[in-house]
Amino acid sequence: MRDVAIVAFAQTAHRRRTDELSEVDLLMPVLHEVLGATGLKANEIGFTCSGSADYLAGRAFSFTMALDGVGAHPPISESHVEMDGAWALYEAWVKIMTGEADTALVYSYGKSSPGEVRDVLSRQLDPYYLAPLWPDSVALAALQAQALIDAGDTDETALAEIAARSRADATANPYAQLTGDVPAGDHLVHPLRTGDCPPIGDGAAAVILAAGDTARALCARPAWIRGIDHRIEAHSLGVRDLTDSPSTRLAAQHAGAFERPADTAELHAPFTSQEVVLRKALGLGDDTRVNPSGGALAANPVMAAGLIRLGEAAARIHRGESDRALAHATSGPCLQQNLVAVLEGESAHV
């Protein structure tokens, strides 16, 4: 198995609206930042892959223009997933594992501000039975939160503590959208209060992957991907136990997450209640620092928030603040699809 690492990460300052910026405008700075950090040019990258969703932009083929930001001439080896950028990173990792590329540029972006993101995400649901009812994303997360409370796994006070911890941690994150004290707020959809829900925001992120000695040459302390896997569950909420996340557990098992404890976990949990589910699935104890960036409760640019978890976990390794970190990304209603990666610094390898 080839050694592949995240060697550079960049993200935008996430904001409630970016009306003045096109998707290319949003992306250009982060693309330049990761390329600049490694000294690579776009045409020196072995493979490029992006993640986004047309429905956020409200138009077909929205990603085709985003490619302009890469400067893709001479032509590049390139692909795109209609998913969170975490899965674009997975496709790029596979490409490097074939030996056909030594480096990869991965990027993703999401502008939630042009539409009503709660309604937009309801278009992900079964189009014949569920989507016609327009259940929005907060309402579905609230069903999950209530199931957790009914099962005795959490209560509203514990959820409020997760929100307070996340946003306190986010004060050290210059890219976060919501930081510091937030009131628990009124119920948005019972039992979730505004404090339990993510901000709506626009943002983008990019990472560079590299293999073996190339990674060592590009980064003082690469974040090695020791394992990465993703799994999906049934779509219908009625056939799932919403208090558990078997797909997260399975992905973590295949990624080798349970072999040794991690000091850090960046979890893609846009709702406080989802952190409860993920902690249980991953078996995280108090000795694992969860979401030191503030997580998706501090900034949740849809389609980039998962890639940002991988980037934040890697950046802590780059800075020497972590030796072994878990990164998690999710997609679909109530944590339907989940990706887990295990990242390590070189010293953790010995």
């Binding site: 590049i76 692909s79 997933v81 596979v94 490409k95 995400l121 049934a234 219908s236 699809q337």
Partner: protein, 388 residues
């Protein structure tokens, strides 16, 4: 490092039609997947991962439909990836699936692409206005017609070449039970008398809008040894992209298409594609793209592509048959069209293409393009495993 050789051991398609009112999207994709599994002699439990592709979600009005399709495709508890690279997506999806096997991440992968255009309106799906960007020019034909005209002007091709391609592909489609358009009364005169839509592209020189799905089962060397029918082996595969609009872009023969083909031939050790390749399934949504892509993919010199078409070289009984299945001109479930090209190339080298089989085909190319002729995907498959 050496890659695992990748084999195509199962292929399934739906009968492509204008509207499949009898099935949901889930029912449509499952039909193709079940046929691919039957061809491979496998069951759902043999599949390690699912890679799915389709063109824009606005075509059916479902955002990220792979989430809802996880159950129908037996993906629960497995990895599922969703690829989207515009019109080239069917080809890109197959290549992503092939990479999972080549990298030895998974042993057996189901890959599938679909479009159920009757659920929505494709013209509307492509026509949402965007501030500060040029509007699409009355559908894809409006975008591509000026580039066809540029090709004719550049090469001196007579204006009869486009109708020859359409006449050929629609006749080939009569031999393909899965093809959408079966016009038993087709004549060259009827093609030439059809209404002009986007000058110089006539109605009968354009692709239909179809409902349909295509699936393939890809596996490693051990999986291929257990397959009940001869596999097709992947000898080379590549994707290349360039921006839609930039000064110096050659819309007649984009550099990304040339580079993609060159990479595939390098991997497959092909030095003379015209002589060494037995059949080509190329992405020809408007008839004039056959002579254009013959040049772009290296089968003819610059300005010479139309001469191959005119001389009958690309006919079913010519020495370089192009689109024996009837091609995109006869069947176009957009997101699946690229995968159908890849799958039909594999059927040819497996000797399982039925009435449109090219005798003794041992090497075949599947090709797709998308966006403003900016995304390219291509593979070359053979009846024998790749050397080494």
């Amino acid at each position: 490092m050496s890659e695992e050789p990748v084999a195509v051991v199962g292929i399934g398609q739906t009968k492509h039609v204008a509207a499949r009112h009898d099935v949901s999207i889930a029912g449509l994709v499952r039909e193709a997947a079940v046929r691919a599994l039957e061809d491979a002699g496998l069951t759902w439990s043999d599949i390690d991962a699912v890679v799915i592709g389709k063109a824009p979600d606005f075509f059916e009005g479902v955002m990220m439909p792979e989430l809802y399709l996880a159950d129908a495709l037996g993906a629960v508890g497995k990895p599922m990836l969703r690829v989207h690279t515009a019109g080239s997506v069917g080809g890109s999806t197959a290549l992503v699936a092939a990479n999972l096997v080549a990298a030895r991440v998974h042993r057996t992968v189901l890959t599938l692409a679909f479009e159920k255009q009757s659920e929505s309106n494709a013209m509307w799906g492509l026509s949402l206005p965007v501030p500060f960007q040029q509007p699409l020019l009355a559908g894809a034909g409006g975008f591509f017609a000026p580039h066809v005209r540029a090709y004719m002007r550049r090469t001196g091709a007579p204006d009869t070449v486009g109708s020859l391609v359409a006449y050929k592909d629609r006749r080939n489609a009569l031999k393909n039970p899965y093809a959408h358009i079966h016009d038993a009364d087709i004549t060259l005169e009827k093609v030439q008398a059809s209404p002009m839509l986007w000058d110089p592209i006539r109605y009968s020189e354009t692709c239909p809008s179809s409902d349909g799905a295509c699936a393939m089962v890809l596996t490693d060397r051990d999986g291929a040894a257990r397959a009940p029918h001869p596999p097709a082996w992947v000898h080379g595969g590549a994707m290349r992209s360039e921006p839609t609009l930039f000064a110096g872009k050659d819309f007649v023969s984009p550099q990304a298409g040339k580079d993609c083909a060159a990479d595939v031939y390098r991997q497959a050790r092909i030095t003379d594609p015209r002589r060494e390749i037995d059949a080509v399934e190329m992405y020809v949504p408007f008839s004039w793209y056959e002579p254009m892509w013959l040049e772009n993919l290296g089968f003819a010199g610059e300005g010479e592509g139309w001469k191959l078409t005119e001389a009958g070289v690309t006919e079913l009984d010519g020495d370089l048959p192009v689109n024996p299945s009837g091609g995109v001109l006869s069947t176009n479930p957009i997101g699946a069209s690229g995968m159908i090209r890849f799958a039909e190339a594999a059927l040819q080298v497996r000797g399982r293409a039925g009435e449109h089989q090219i005798d003794g085909a041992t090497r075949a190319v599947g090709h797709a393009y998308g966006g403003g002729a900016q995304f390219f995907a291509m593979w070359l498959v053979g009846s024998q495993p790749p050397p080494g």
